[in-house]
Amino acid sequence: MKKVYAREEYCTGCGLCQVHCITAHSPYKDNIVKAYKKTFPRPLPRVIVEEQRPVSFALQCRHCEDAPCVKACITGAMQRDPATGVVNNDESRCVGCWTCILVCPHGAVARDERGKKAASKCDMCSGIHEVPACVAGCPNGALEYRGEREKEA
C-alpha cells in the first residue's frame, strides 16, 4: 500500500504539514483561517514534527501490517480497512482507554481529550483528499506518498 515517507534530509521543521492536517480534518477543508478560528475544539494534528536542530522530521502512523493498536483495541474502534489497508480509529466507538497509545511502537497516536475523549491518529486523509494533506502541503518535498517498493525520487 501507499504510505507517507519522511525525507528528514529535506524537512525544514516548518510545521506546515500540521497546519494542513488540522485543516483537512476540520469542517472547513479549504479554508485554513476558518479551520483555525471557527472550529472548536480544533482537531489535533495527526502528524507530529519532531525537531532537534538540525534534525527534524514529520512522523505519522505507519499503518503497520500487523497493527498492534488494532489488536489491542478493546472496543474494536481501531480498525484496518481491508480494502485500503489504512488503520483508522472510529471515534464514535473509541472510549479513550489509551491502550492503542501504549502499544504503538511509533508514538503515532495522540490523546484528544478536548471533546469526547478519543484517540487521534493519521487516517491518510481517506475520504478527504486523494493525496494526504501533509504531503500536498509540504513546501519542500520532504514527505512522499508512495508504495513501499517505489524508489525514492
Binding site: R7, E9, Y10, C11, T12, G13, C14, G15, L16, Q18, V19, H20, I32, V33, Y36, K37, R53, P54, S56, G137, P139, N140, G141, A142, A153
Partner: protein
C-alpha cells in the same frame, strides 16, 4: 568605554494581519534571523523588526498570507545627496569602524544597456520563421576555431581544438561550494545535465558527490588553488582560470573559518575551521606570459583534451587585456560585468568598480575582430544576465554564450535580500548551516533551474524566428540586429550599433 547606542532604525516594517494569523508559528520556525517569536503568556506571535532582512521566507511560507513586509515608513528629511542609504552606512561605520559588506550584485541605478538596445524583427521580406514548425538551432560550441577549413582527401586537415558543446547558450556561472550550499550546487549540476549545458565549480573545488556530473562541469582554478588536483582537472569538461570577478574586480575572496566544516575542508583541501583566503593576485601571474604558462600547464595536465578559459572582470582596457589573453592561448574568455553577484563584497567596491559588461563585450569583440583573432577564442559574458532577451542581445553584440548566476539563484528561491555574507540564507542557498541547507531540496531545485533554462530556450527560439534566423550561430556578432535607444553618439560608437530609426 561606554557602549555605543545604535542610531539605526529598522529597514522594514512587518505587518501581521491579526484576522488571518492563526498562530501556527511557521514564521517563527522559518526565520533564521529570529525576527518572529511566540509569546507563551499572550499566546501570540510577535516580531522584532530590527532584525528583518526582508528575505520573504516567512511571507512565502505563511499559509494564510497574514504577513506583509514593507520598507519602513520612517523617513528622514528628503535629501537627494544624503540619501537614506548613505546616512545608514555612516551610522553603521560609526558604530563598527569596519568595511561595509554586502552580498549579490551592484544595485545602484546605473543604466542597464541591455534595456537601451532593441532587437530587429523581419517583416515582409526575409520572413520570420515559426519555431514551432521549423527547426531552430540553439546549439553553440565554445573553444578555438580554425582560421580556415583546409581539406585533404575530403577530410578536415586541421585538428579542431577541444570544444564545449552547449545546447543552449547559457551556462551556470562560478559559485563555489562554500559560497553556496551543496544542495544548491547539486540543483544546478542536475539542471545543467538535463538541459545540455554546464555549471562551474568556482574556486571551491568539486565535492566528491559531484564527480558524476563532471561532464557538465567547468572546474575553476583561482588564486587560492583550492581543491585543485589532477582528478579535479580531469573531472571537468573545461578548466577556467579565474583572474577577476565582476562584483569585486581586483579583490580576492575570503570564506570565513566558521563555514569551513568537514565537507568544505575536504573539498577545498584546507584544514577544518581555517579561513579560506584567495588572494587578489595569482602569485605566479604578473604578465601575459605568466598567464600563458598557466594556461599551457593546465592544457598539458589535461592532455590538450579540454578547453582552458580565463575569466576576468570587465574593467577599463578590457579589450587590450582580452587580446592578450587570446594570444596567451585561452580557448574562451569570460567577461564578468560590474553587476555580477557575489556572496560577499566590500560595498563600495561592488558599487563603484568596473564597467558595464555590454560595453566590455562590444569593445572586446570589436578589438579581436580588428586584430583578426576573434576565431581563436570564444566569448562568454556574465554579470546580471536577467532574461532570454539579454542573452539574445549579448549574442548579437558578439558573445558566444552567457553565464548566469543571480538568475539561477533566483530560480532556486533567492529573494535578493543581499545578506549572503551573513551565512543565514533563509532559502538554504548561501549558507552552510545544516538546519538551513535542508531547505533546498535538490530534486525541486534542479526542476526549477531546468525550467528556467527551458523557458529561456523557447524564448530565444521565438526571438530568432522573429528575426528570420534559424540558428543561434548566425546571430553572433550580427550587430545590425540591434538598435540603440536613449544612447549618446559615443555609447553607440562603443557598442558598434546604430540608433533606433537608422
Amino acid at each position: 568605554m561606554a557602549l555605543l547606542k545604535s542610531y539605526l532604525t529598522p529597514d522594514f516594517l512587518i505587518e501581521r494581519n491579526k484576522d488571518r494569523c492563526i498562530q501556527c508559528r511557521v514564521c517563527v520556525q522559518q526565520c533564521a534571523n529570529e525576527v518572529h517569536y511566540y509569546d507563551d503568556e499572550d499566546g501570540e506571535v510577535y516580531s522584532d523588526e530590527m532584525k528583518c532582512v526582508n528575505c520573504q521566507r516567512c511571507v512565502t511560507l505563511c499559509p494564510t498570507r497574514a504577513l506583509v513586509i514593507r520598507s519602513s515608513p520612517n523617513e528622514l528629511r528628503k535629501n537627494a545627496n544624503w540619501t537614506p542609504e548613505v546616512i545608514r552606512s555612516i551610522y553603521i561605520q560609526a558604530e563598527t569602524g569596519g568595511v561595509l559588506l554586502t552580498g549579490m550584485g551592484n544595485d545602484r541605478p546605473y543604466p542597464v544597456y541591455w534595456d537601451h538596445m532593441l532587437l530587429n524583427a523581419s517583416q515582409v521580406t526575409n520572413p520570420s520563421i515559426d519555431p514551432l514548425r521549423e527547426p531552430m538551432e540553439c546549439k553553440t560550441f565554445l573553444g578555438r576555431k580554425p582560421a580556415s577549413l583546409v581539406f585533404e582527401n575530403g577530410r578536415l586537415k586541421e585538428k579542431i581544438p577541444p570544444q564545449l558543446e552547449l545546447d543552449i547558450p547559457v551556462m551556470f556561472s562560478a559559485m563555489s561550494f562554500g559560497s553556496i550550499s551543496l544542495n544548491a550546487i547539486k540543483s544546478l549540476a542536475r539542471a545543467a545535465r538535463q538541459e545540455g549545458t554546464y555549471f562551474n565549480t568556482g574556486e571551491g573545488g568539486l565535492h566528491k558527490e559531484l564527480y558524476p556530473y563532471g561532464e557538465n562541469c567547468i572546474v575553476q582554478v583561482a588564486s587560492g588553488r583550492f581543491g585543485v588536483h589532477s582528478e579535479y582537472l580531469e573531472a571537468g569538461s573545461a578548466v577556467e582560470i579565474k583572474i577577476g570577478q565582476g562584483a569585486k574586480p581586483g579583490i580576492g575572496g575570503h570564506l570565513p573559518g566558521e563555514k569551513v566544516g568537514k565537507e568544505i575542508s575536504e573539498t577545498r583541501m584546507i584544514p577544518e575551521g581555517t579561513d579560506a583566503l584567495s588572494p587578489a593576485p595569482h602569485h605566479d601571474i604578473y604578465s601575459i606570459e605568466d598567464l600563458r604558462q598557466l594556461i599551457f600547464s593546465l592544457k598539458e595536465a589535461t592532455g590538450y583534451q579540454k578547453p582552458v578559459g580565463v575569466k576576468i572582470a570587465a574593467v577599463h582596457n578590457v579589450a587590450a587585456i582580452a587580446s592578450g589573453i587570446a594570444r596567451a592561448g585561452a580557448d574562451y574568455i569570460a567577461i564578468d560585468g560590474y553587476r555580477g553577484g557575489t556572496g560577499a563584497a566590500p560595498l563600495r567596491i561592488r558599487d563603484n568598480v568596473g564597467i558595464p559588461v555590454e560595453f566590455a563585450l562590444a569593445a572586446v569583440d570589436t578589438r579581436l575582430r580588428n586584430e583578426g583573432i576573434r576565431n581563436e577564442v570564444s566569448l562568454v559574458v556574465a554579470g546580471s544576465i536577467r532574461s532570454s532577451s539579454d542573452v539574445v542581445k549579448a549574442v548579437a553584440l558578439g558573445a558566444d554564450a552567457v553565464y548566469i548566476a543571480s538568475a539561477a539563484l533566483l530560480a532556486l528561491g533567492c529573494h535578493m535580500c543581499q545578506k549572503c555574507y551573513t551565512g543565514k540564507c533563509n532559502w538554504g542557498i548561501a549558507t552552510q548551516d545544516p538546519h538551513l541547507t535542508k531547505r533546498l531540496n535538490p530534486d525541486l531545485g534542479a526542476q526549477r533551474a531546468a525550467n528556467l533554462l527551458r523557458g529561456w530556450k523557447h524564448e530565444i527560439q521565438e526571438m530568432l524566428g522573429g528575426m528570420g534566423i534559424n540558428a543561434l550561430e548566425s546571430l553572433r556578432g550580427n550587430r545590425l540586429m540591434l538598435r540603440g535607444i536613449g544612447l549618446t553618439e559615443k555609447e553607440l560608437e562603443i557598442l558598434g550599433i546604430k540608433a533606433a530609426g537608422e
